[in-house]
Protein backbone atom coordinates (compact mmCIF):
# COMPACT_ATOMS: atom_id res chain seq x y z
CA UNK A 1 0.00 0.00 0.00
CA UNK A 2 2.90 2.32 0.73
CA UNK A 3 3.75 2.28 -2.96
CA UNK A 4 0.63 4.39 -3.53
CA UNK A 5 1.47 6.84 -0.76
CA UNK A 6 3.25 8.92 -3.39
CA UNK A 7 0.57 11.29 -4.80
CA UNK A 8 1.93 11.24 -8.37
CA UNK A 9 2.11 7.45 -8.42
CA UNK A 10 -1.38 7.24 -6.93
CA UNK A 11 -2.75 9.62 -9.59
CA UNK A 12 -1.30 7.41 -12.35
CA UNK A 13 -2.71 4.26 -10.74
CA UNK A 14 -6.13 5.92 -10.24
CA UNK A 15 -6.28 7.07 -13.87
CA UNK A 16 -5.69 3.49 -15.06
CA UNK A 17 -8.05 1.92 -12.52
CA UNK A 18 -11.01 4.31 -12.99
CA UNK A 19 -12.50 2.86 -16.24
CA UNK A 20 -12.17 -0.73 -14.95
CA UNK A 21 -13.74 0.14 -11.64
CA UNK A 22 -16.54 2.10 -13.34
CA UNK A 23 -17.29 -0.79 -15.73
CA UNK A 24 -17.36 -3.31 -12.86
CA UNK A 25 -19.72 -1.00 -10.93
CA UNK A 26 -22.13 -0.72 -13.86
CA UNK A 27 -22.09 -4.50 -14.42
CA UNK A 28 -22.73 -5.30 -10.75
CA UNK A 29 -25.54 -2.72 -10.56
CA UNK A 30 -27.16 -4.27 -13.67
CA UNK A 31 -27.03 -7.78 -12.16
CA UNK A 32 -28.02 -6.50 -8.72
CA UNK A 33 -31.05 -4.57 -9.99
CA UNK A 34 -32.27 -7.53 -12.01
CA UNK A 35 -31.93 -9.81 -8.96
CA UNK A 36 -33.49 -7.22 -6.64
CA UNK A 37 -36.49 -6.25 -8.77
CA UNK A 38 -37.20 -9.30 -10.93
CA UNK A 39 -35.52 -12.53 -9.87
CA UNK A 40 -35.96 -12.44 -6.08
CA UNK A 41 -39.17 -13.52 -4.33
CA UNK A 42 -41.29 -11.26 -2.09
CA UNK A 43 -40.65 -11.67 1.65
CA UNK A 44 -43.08 -13.92 3.57
CA UNK A 45 -43.82 -11.12 6.04
CA UNK A 46 -43.03 -7.86 4.25
CA UNK A 47 -44.22 -8.85 0.77
CA UNK A 48 -42.90 -6.79 -2.14
CA UNK A 49 -41.80 -3.94 0.14
CA UNK A 50 -38.71 -6.00 1.02
CA UNK A 51 -37.23 -4.85 -2.32
CA UNK A 52 -36.52 -1.49 -0.69
CA UNK A 53 -33.97 -3.32 1.46
CA UNK A 54 -31.71 -3.86 -1.57
CA UNK A 55 -31.12 -0.13 -1.98
CA UNK A 56 -31.47 0.79 1.71
CA UNK A 57 -29.17 -1.60 3.58
CA UNK A 58 -26.12 -1.29 1.26
CA UNK A 59 -26.46 2.51 1.41
CA UNK A 60 -26.41 2.38 5.21
CA UNK A 61 -23.39 0.06 5.21
CA UNK A 62 -21.50 2.29 2.78
CA UNK A 63 -22.49 5.42 4.75
CA UNK A 64 -20.62 3.96 7.73
CA UNK A 65 -17.70 2.55 5.72
CA UNK A 66 -17.20 5.92 4.01
CA UNK A 67 -17.08 7.57 7.41
CA UNK A 68 -14.25 5.18 8.37
CA UNK A 69 -12.41 6.38 5.21
CA UNK A 70 -12.98 10.03 6.21
CA UNK A 71 -11.83 9.45 9.80
CA UNK A 72 -8.84 7.28 8.83
CA UNK A 73 -7.75 9.77 6.17
CA UNK A 74 -8.11 12.61 8.68
CA UNK A 75 -6.12 10.75 11.34
CA UNK A 76 -3.31 9.88 8.92
CA UNK A 77 -3.15 13.53 7.78
CA UNK A 78 -3.24 14.93 11.30
CA UNK A 79 -0.89 12.46 13.00
CA UNK A 80 1.49 11.28 10.26
CA UNK A 81 1.06 14.14 7.77
CA UNK A 82 0.25 11.60 5.09
CA UNK A 83 -0.03 13.55 1.81
CA UNK A 84 -3.08 11.58 0.63
CA UNK A 85 -4.90 11.60 3.99
CA UNK A 86 -6.58 14.99 3.64
CA UNK A 87 -7.25 14.33 -0.03
CA UNK A 88 -8.99 11.02 0.76
CA UNK A 89 -11.09 12.60 3.53
CA UNK A 90 -12.07 15.55 1.33
CA UNK A 91 -12.94 13.22 -1.57
CA UNK A 92 -14.96 10.77 0.54
CA UNK A 93 -17.09 13.13 2.60
CA UNK A 94 -19.70 14.16 -0.04
CA UNK A 95 -19.99 10.52 -1.15
CA UNK A 96 -20.70 9.50 2.44
CA UNK A 97 -23.29 12.25 2.75
CA UNK A 98 -24.95 10.91 -0.42
CA UNK A 99 -25.05 7.33 0.93
CA UNK A 100 -26.49 8.56 4.23
CA UNK A 101 -29.14 10.58 2.40
CA UNK A 102 -30.13 7.46 0.43
CA UNK A 103 -30.33 5.42 3.64
CA UNK A 104 -32.55 8.07 5.27
CA UNK A 105 -34.86 8.55 2.26
CA UNK A 106 -35.28 4.86 1.42
CA UNK A 107 -35.63 4.01 5.12
CA UNK A 108 -38.43 6.50 5.40
CA UNK A 109 -40.13 5.03 2.33
CA UNK A 110 -39.81 1.56 3.88
CA UNK A 111 -40.92 2.70 7.33
CA UNK A 112 -44.24 4.09 6.15
CA UNK A 113 -45.74 0.80 4.87
CA UNK A 114 -44.02 -1.41 7.50
CA UNK A 115 -44.18 0.70 10.68
CA UNK A 116 -46.97 3.07 9.72
CA UNK A 117 -44.74 6.14 10.02
CA UNK A 118 -42.17 7.97 7.89
CA UNK A 119 -39.95 8.75 10.86
CA UNK A 120 -39.43 7.98 14.57
CA UNK A 121 -36.94 9.69 16.86
CA UNK A 122 -35.41 6.44 18.03
CA UNK A 123 -31.70 5.74 18.50
CA UNK A 124 -31.03 4.14 15.10
CA UNK A 125 -32.73 6.78 12.97
CA UNK A 126 -31.46 9.68 15.05
CA UNK A 127 -27.83 8.45 15.08
CA UNK A 128 -27.93 8.06 11.27
CA UNK A 129 -29.33 11.59 10.98
CA UNK A 130 -26.41 12.75 13.16
CA UNK A 131 -24.04 10.93 10.75
CA UNK A 132 -25.57 12.96 7.91
CA UNK A 133 -24.97 16.20 9.85
CA UNK A 134 -21.40 15.11 10.66
CA UNK A 135 -20.76 14.76 6.93
CA UNK A 136 -22.32 18.18 6.23
CA UNK A 137 -20.29 19.74 9.06
CA UNK A 138 -17.13 18.16 7.70
CA UNK A 139 -17.79 19.52 4.19
CA UNK A 140 -18.66 22.96 5.59
CA UNK A 141 -15.47 23.14 7.69
CA UNK A 142 -13.31 22.08 4.74
CA UNK A 143 -14.58 25.06 2.80
CA UNK A 144 -14.88 27.55 5.65
CA UNK A 145 -11.31 28.91 5.55
CA UNK A 146 -9.39 30.80 2.86
CA UNK A 147 -6.33 28.79 3.81
CA UNK A 148 -7.17 25.16 2.81
CA UNK A 149 -4.83 23.56 5.35
CA UNK A 150 -6.61 25.28 8.27
CA UNK A 151 -9.98 24.05 7.04
CA UNK A 152 -8.60 20.54 6.58
CA UNK A 153 -7.25 20.56 10.15
CA UNK A 154 -10.54 21.68 11.70
CA UNK A 155 -12.49 19.19 9.58
CA UNK A 156 -10.10 16.37 10.52
CA UNK A 157 -10.64 17.00 14.23
CA UNK A 158 -14.43 16.90 13.73
CA UNK A 159 -14.17 13.69 11.67
CA UNK A 160 -12.05 11.91 14.31
CA UNK A 161 -14.32 13.00 17.18
CA UNK A 162 -17.37 11.92 15.19
CA UNK A 163 -16.17 8.32 14.88
CA UNK A 164 -17.81 7.69 18.28
CA UNK A 165 -21.15 7.83 16.40
CA UNK A 166 -20.39 4.65 14.42
CA UNK A 167 -20.68 2.10 17.27
CA UNK A 168 -23.76 4.00 18.45
CA UNK A 169 -25.38 3.47 15.02
CA UNK A 170 -24.29 -0.17 14.91
CA UNK A 171 -25.46 -1.17 18.38
CA UNK A 172 -28.39 1.25 18.72
CA UNK A 173 -30.83 -1.52 17.76
CA UNK A 174 -29.49 -3.71 20.59
CA UNK A 175 -29.02 -1.07 23.29
CA UNK A 176 -32.33 0.77 23.00
CA UNK A 177 -35.85 -0.26 22.09
CA UNK A 178 -36.63 0.65 18.51
CA UNK A 179 -38.92 -0.06 15.59
CA UNK A 180 -35.83 -0.83 13.49
CA UNK A 181 -35.04 -4.50 13.07
CA UNK A 182 -31.70 -5.79 14.43
CA UNK A 183 -28.87 -6.95 12.15
CA UNK A 184 -29.67 -10.06 10.09
CA UNK A 185 -26.10 -10.45 8.87
CA UNK A 186 -23.28 -10.74 11.40
CA UNK A 187 -19.66 -11.75 10.81
CA UNK A 188 -19.58 -14.96 12.86
CA UNK A 189 -23.10 -16.37 12.64
CA UNK A 190 -25.15 -17.91 9.87
CA UNK A 191 -27.20 -15.08 8.30
CA UNK A 192 -30.80 -15.00 9.50
CA UNK A 193 -31.91 -14.43 5.94
CA UNK A 194 -32.83 -16.76 3.06
CA UNK A 195 -30.24 -17.09 0.22
CA UNK A 196 -32.89 -15.94 -2.29
CA UNK A 197 -32.93 -12.59 -0.51
CA UNK A 198 -29.33 -12.59 0.74
CA UNK A 199 -27.81 -12.96 -2.77
CA UNK A 200 -29.36 -9.80 -4.30
CA UNK A 201 -28.51 -7.92 -1.11
CA UNK A 202 -24.84 -8.91 -1.30
CA UNK A 203 -24.63 -8.18 -5.05
CA UNK A 204 -26.14 -4.73 -4.50
CA UNK A 205 -23.73 -4.19 -1.58
CA UNK A 206 -20.87 -5.11 -3.93
CA UNK A 207 -22.17 -2.62 -6.51
CA UNK A 208 -22.43 0.16 -3.92
CA UNK A 209 -18.91 -0.67 -2.69
CA UNK A 210 -17.44 -0.51 -6.19
CA UNK A 211 -19.33 2.74 -6.75
CA UNK A 212 -17.60 4.12 -3.64
CA UNK A 213 -14.20 2.93 -4.90
CA UNK A 214 -14.78 4.46 -8.36
CA UNK A 215 -15.92 7.75 -6.92
CA UNK A 216 -12.95 7.89 -4.55
CA UNK A 217 -10.59 7.34 -7.50
CA UNK A 218 -12.27 10.08 -9.56
CA UNK A 219 -12.57 12.55 -6.70
CA UNK A 220 -9.04 12.00 -5.39
CA UNK A 221 -7.68 12.57 -8.91
CA UNK A 222 -9.65 15.83 -9.03
CA UNK A 223 -8.34 16.87 -5.60
CA UNK A 224 -4.74 16.06 -6.62
CA UNK A 225 -5.17 18.11 -9.80
CA UNK A 226 -6.57 21.00 -7.71
CA UNK A 227 -3.55 20.82 -5.37
CA UNK A 228 -1.16 20.90 -8.34
CA UNK A 229 -3.16 23.76 -9.82
CA UNK A 230 -2.70 25.78 -6.61
CA UNK A 231 1.04 25.07 -6.65
CA UNK A 232 1.28 26.01 -10.33
CA UNK A 233 -0.57 29.28 -9.69
CA UNK A 234 1.86 30.09 -6.88
CA UNK A 235 4.83 29.38 -9.18
CA UNK A 236 3.33 31.55 -11.90
CA UNK A 237 2.82 34.39 -9.42
CA UNK A 238 6.39 34.05 -8.17
CA UNK A 239 7.71 34.28 -11.75
CA UNK A 240 5.53 37.34 -12.43
Amino acid sequence: MHRFANPARFARFAATATPWSAAATALLFAIGLWLALVASPPDYQQGESVRIMYVHVPAAWMAMLTYVVVAAGSASALVWRHPLGDIAARAASPVGAGFTLIALLTGSLWGKPMWGTWWVWDARLTSVLILFFLYLGHIALLNAFDEPTRGARAAAILAIAGIVNLPIIKFSVDWWSTLHQPASITPFAKPAIDPAILTPLLVMAGAYFLFLVTLLLVRMRAELAEAKLRAARATLLAHG
Binding site: I52, P94, G98, I102, V218, R221
Partner: protein, 70 residues
Protein backbone atom coordinates in the same frame (compact mmCIF):
# COMPACT_ATOMS: atom_id res chain seq x y z
CA UNK B 1 -49.29 -6.45 -20.26
CA UNK B 2 -50.91 -7.71 -17.10
CA UNK B 3 -47.59 -8.94 -15.76
CA UNK B 4 -46.03 -5.52 -16.41
CA UNK B 5 -48.84 -3.88 -14.46
CA UNK B 6 -48.30 -6.36 -11.61
CA UNK B 7 -44.58 -5.54 -11.68
CA UNK B 8 -45.26 -1.80 -11.48
CA UNK B 9 -47.88 -2.13 -8.75
CA UNK B 10 -45.65 -4.37 -6.58
CA UNK B 11 -48.67 -5.79 -4.78
CA UNK B 12 -49.68 -2.35 -3.55
CA UNK B 13 -46.16 -1.34 -2.46
CA UNK B 14 -45.22 0.26 -5.81
CA UNK B 15 -45.77 3.74 -4.37
CA UNK B 16 -42.94 3.06 -1.89
CA UNK B 17 -40.62 0.73 -3.79
CA UNK B 18 -40.25 2.85 -6.95
CA UNK B 19 -39.66 6.20 -5.21
CA UNK B 20 -37.00 4.44 -3.06
CA UNK B 21 -35.17 3.18 -6.16
CA UNK B 22 -35.61 6.56 -7.87
CA UNK B 23 -34.18 8.43 -4.87
CA UNK B 24 -31.17 6.10 -4.69
CA UNK B 25 -30.56 6.38 -8.45
CA UNK B 26 -30.88 10.15 -8.39
CA UNK B 27 -28.39 10.63 -5.55
CA UNK B 28 -25.86 8.17 -7.03
CA UNK B 29 -26.17 9.70 -10.49
CA UNK B 30 -25.76 13.23 -9.14
CA UNK B 31 -22.64 12.17 -7.19
CA UNK B 32 -21.16 10.57 -10.30
CA UNK B 33 -21.90 13.52 -12.60
CA UNK B 34 -20.63 16.16 -10.15
CA UNK B 35 -17.44 14.19 -9.41
CA UNK B 36 -16.69 13.51 -13.09
CA UNK B 37 -17.32 17.14 -14.04
CA UNK B 38 -15.02 18.33 -11.25
CA UNK B 39 -12.26 16.00 -12.49
CA UNK B 40 -12.58 17.16 -16.10
CA UNK B 41 -12.59 20.81 -15.02
CA UNK B 42 -9.57 20.63 -12.71
CA UNK B 43 -7.50 18.46 -15.06
CA UNK B 44 -8.33 20.80 -17.95
CA UNK B 45 -7.33 23.86 -15.92
CA UNK B 46 -4.12 22.13 -14.81
CA UNK B 47 -3.08 21.28 -18.39
CA UNK B 48 -3.72 24.88 -19.42
CA UNK B 49 -1.79 26.23 -16.42
CA UNK B 50 1.18 23.91 -16.92
CA UNK B 51 1.50 25.07 -20.52
CA UNK B 52 1.90 28.61 -19.21
CA UNK B 53 4.58 27.74 -16.66
CA UNK B 54 7.97 28.90 -18.00
CA UNK B 55 10.07 25.95 -16.77
CA UNK B 56 7.70 23.26 -17.95
CA UNK B 57 7.15 24.83 -21.35
CA UNK B 58 10.87 24.87 -22.10
CA UNK B 59 11.20 21.27 -20.98
CA UNK B 60 8.32 20.07 -23.10
CA UNK B 61 9.62 21.97 -26.13
CA UNK B 62 12.96 20.21 -25.75
CA UNK B 63 11.38 16.85 -25.16
CA UNK B 64 8.95 17.04 -28.07
CA UNK B 65 10.84 16.90 -31.36
CA UNK B 66 13.98 15.28 -29.94
CA UNK B 67 12.13 12.12 -28.89
CA UNK B 68 9.82 11.85 -31.91
CA UNK B 69 10.47 9.46 -34.78
CA UNK B 70 12.84 10.81 -37.40
Amino acid sequence: MESLQRFVEMDGYGGFVWPAYAAAALVLLALWLLSWRALRRSEGALTEMEARLPGRRERSEHAGPARGPA
